[in-house]
């Protein structure tokens, strides 16, 4: 008998991954899916500065400024936020080629879709995320269970080696452990 996969990747594993990849700025417009991670960062993680922004276009610009200044930011948003900031990503990610990694929660994904293909979700904000990223030549990796966490490091390696944006898609609410 196989055990049921755990879709709720612990927030502590995300913090470990941020540290492993040398992230020093957490630039964000909060995401419902990643609330457990947000609260950990809000509470204070040494060496990681939380930079809250009013919307995602601003978050992309702030991250670009940090990168130009020699820092290593991550942009943490939800899928609706990604849809809202396409113009900034086009400039900063695709034209400027800033190596910005996005951690994007699949807000609104029906729990029945866990373990299924998110592009078959009945909610448009979930269903369109990967096709939109693909249309913008942005590589993405799904984080569906703990076994996927090595993809976190792979996305950073890709972004910083190729000087390209990259997207990590958080498929289910982050675990509170």
């Amino acid at each position: 008998m196989t055990s049921k996969p755990n879709f709720n990747i612990p927030a502590s594993h995300y913090v470990d991954a941020l540290r492993r990849n040398g992230i020093d700025y957490f630039v964000t417009v909060p995401d419902w899916v990643q609330l457990a991670l947000h609260l950990r960062i809000e509470a204070g993680e040494p060496g990681i500065t939380n930079v809250p922004c009013c919307n995602e276009e601003q978050a992309v610009a702030v991250a670009a400024g940090l990168w130009m200044g020699g820092k290593k930011p991550i942009v943490v948003v939800q899928n609706q936020g990604m849809h809202a900031c396409i113009n900034s990503i086009r400039t900063v990610g695709n034209d400027v080629r800033a190596p910005i990694v996005f951690l994007i929660g699949q807000f609104g994904r029906e729990f029945a879709n866990f373990g299924q293909d998110p592009t078959e979700s009945r909610r448009s904000t979930v269903r369109y995320l990967e096709p939109v990223l693909h249309a913008m030549d942005i590589r993405s990796w799904r984080l569906e269970s703990e076994e996927d966490m090595p993809k976190f490091d792979e996305a950073f390696r890709y972004a910083w080696t190729e000087s390209r944006p990259a997207a990590l898609l958080v498929g289910a609410p982050t675990g509170w452990n």
Partner: protein, 203 residues
């Protein structure tokens, strides 16, 4: 009333080695005035300059960052006032070229809220340490050094006369130069290199 060149010239006269983030009309004015490194342009990215400036200011708190925004650009990302103020960059100076027009010097379409919107009141309410407004070059010129000596984030609204529109049936739009779409890529890398070299020297 000032024009955009005279307003930008006052800023440059006191800039020293502050990082300059300009956008749209102010970018062109700074080009005309020969502004050099350290600088980056938010282009084509209306609304992006305050965020870029904030990121640079957080990354280099030891260095002043001057953002030269436009009223139409700020209106596209008005929440930037709160994003900047809430992150409290003491080294950020946010100038606003306020000419009341969009596509200024091209078609001069009116910006929403022209002559009614009080940007300084908005900046103060958002939490900037100070907000000042100037229309006369001599008064702005007398105040600029003291402005840059104070703790930010500070907001300075500059009322400028828009350049006359140049487009018409007899003089329609021409193609954009590729530079408009490639310069930010090159400037970002050049600025990054400049800042890294200065940091090494300081260390």
């Amino acid at each position: 009333m000032m024009n955009i060149i005279s307003a930008c010239n006052v800023i440059l006269s006191a800039r020293k080695d502050a990082v300059l983030v300009a956008t749209m009309g102010s970018m062109v004015a700074m080009d005309t005035l020969g502004a050099q490194q350290p600088r980056v342009s938010s282009v084509p990215l209306m609304g992006g300059a305050p965020g870029l400036g904030l990121g640079l200011a957080l990354a280099h708190p030891e260095r002043k960052v001057i953002v030269v925004d436009g009223d139409a650009s700020l209106l596209m990302q008005l929440g930037n006032l709160v994003t900047v103020a809430s992150n409290r960059p003491a080294n950020l100076y946010h100038f606003l070229i306020c000419n009341g027009t969009q596509f200024s010097g091209m078609s001069n379409l009116p910006v929403p809220g022209r002559a009614r919107t009080d940007y300084c009141a908005m900046a103060r309410a958002a939490g900037y340490t100070d907000a000042l407004e100037f229309s006369q070059e001599d008064k702005f010129s007398s105040a600029i050094q003291e402005i840059l000596n104070g703790n930010g984030p500070r907001f300075i609204s500059l009322n400028v006369e828009p350049d006359p529109p140049k487009f018409s049936a007899q003089s329609p739009q021409q193609d954009w130069s590729d530079l408009q779409f490639t310069r930010m890529h090159n400037e970002a890398r050049a600025l990054s290199k400049w800042l890294a070299e200065k940091s090494l020297v300081a260390a």
